[in-house]
Symmetry: C2
Subunit: 233 residues, 2 copies
Amino acid sequence: MAAGKIYMIPVTLGDEDYRKVIPEKVLEITRSLRLFTVEDIRSARRYLRLIDKDFPINDTVFNELNEHTNESEIGEYIEPVLKGSDMGIMSEAGLPGIADPGAKLITIAHRKRIRVIPLAGPSSILLALISSGLNGQSFCFNGYLPVKPSDRASRLRELEKNAREGYAQIFMETPYRNQRMFESVLSVCSDSTVLCIAVDVTLPGENIRTMTISDWKKNQPSINDRLAIFIIQ
Amino acid sequence: MAAGKIYMIPVTLGDEDYRKVIPEKVLEITRSLRLFTVEDIRSARRYLRLIDKDFPINDTVFNELNEHTNESEIGEYIEPVLKGSDMGIMSEAGLPGIADPGAKLITIAHRKRIRVIPLAGPSSILLALISSGLNGQSFCFNGYLPVKPSDRASRLRELEKNAREGYAQIFMETPYRNQRMFESVLSVCSDSTVLCIAVDVTLPGENIRTMTISDWKKNQPSINDRLAIFIIQ
C-alpha cells in the first residue's frame, strides 16, 4: 500500500474569525483528516470543533508532540502514515514547525520518503515582519531568548550587532514576561536602534508599531499577557 | 479626516486555486479596495480579475513599487492614505514585504503613524521551512545570493558555517538560474550538510525534499525554470 501524506496544518492565532486567516480549501483538508500529531491535544480538539461543530473527535487519533515527547514515540507516530493514513500536524497557534518541536517528526518523514505538504495560514512572525517596515530581504528568527537577566542582556547585544550587519532580528517571549523583555530591550539596546513590537497579530487588539528605542522610551506600552513579536534592526 | 489603513495583501504563488492559499475574509478585503501599491501592475490586475471577474480595474488606482521606484515617489503614494483612503500592498507572489521593496513604503507609514494591517496568506519561504524538517526554532532568510561564481561560493561557505551554529539558512534564486545554484551548493557544501529543496510550493508540481548533500549527488533533480527555495543546515 502507498504511504499516506503529512499535512502541515495551520490554525488560528487566537480568538479571531477562522475565515480571516485560514483558506477555505485548507479548512476542507483539515476537516477530512482522522489522524493528527499535535502540540496540545485539548487545543487541537477545540480548534477542530470550531471549524466543524460535528467533527468526529471520538473517531480521531491524536498523538501529542511537545518538549516532553521522546524520539522513539515520534518514530511510532509515523507508522500509520507508512501504512497509508494521511496525518495532520498542528501547533498550538499558527503554522506548525516554527517555534515548536514538529521538525523532529518531519525529519523522520523525509528519511522514510513520506510526502510532506505545507498548507498556507497565519504566521505571527512573518506577519509582524512584513508590517514592521524592517528588512524583509534578510532576517533571522531567534526564538526565545534566555530568561536570566545577564544572559539575556548579552544575547540582546549580540542580536543588535547582527542587526547592524543588515539582518532584521526577530524574537519572542512568553506573554507574562513580555513587559520585562521590553524593559530589557530598552535598557540594553542603543537609542538609535529601531524596534518593532507587534502585539496580538490578526487578533482584535492588533497593534504593530515601529520606532527607535529613544521614541519607545517616551511611549511605553502595556504588553504583558498579550501575544508579542519583537524585531530589532 | 482620519487616515486610512494599509493592508499587506497576500496573493497566490502561481497557478493554484486561490481558495487553497487565501482566506475568505482576505479575499473580501482585497475586493473592497480601490487603491493599491504593487510590485507589478499587470500581475496585480490579473490577480484582482482572478478573484473577482467584475473587479472595477478602471476605477482603481495602482502605484508601482519595485527596484526602479525612487524614494520621493514612495512618499507621494502615502498621500491619499493620509487623507483617508485605505491602501493594499501586493507583491508579484505570496506575502508583500518579503524579498521585495515594499518595506520602504511601510517605514514611511510608521513614521506617519498610519496603521499597517497584515493579512494571512502563503509564504513560499516559511512553507518550505516548516516542511523541511530543518530548524524552525532559529533560522535566517538570506534572499538572493551573489551571481558571480567565486562570490557565490564564498557566500555559501559563510551560510554553511552559520548553519553549523544552529541556524537553518534559507535562500533563493531566479528560476532560470536554479540548476546552476543547485550545482554550486553541491560543489561548495560538505557531504554531511543537509539540504532541502522546495520546488513549486503550493503549486501542482510541489515537491519538497530534504537529504544530505551526499544523497543529493546521487539523485539530481531538474529544477530549472521552476520556483525553488533552498535551505541548508
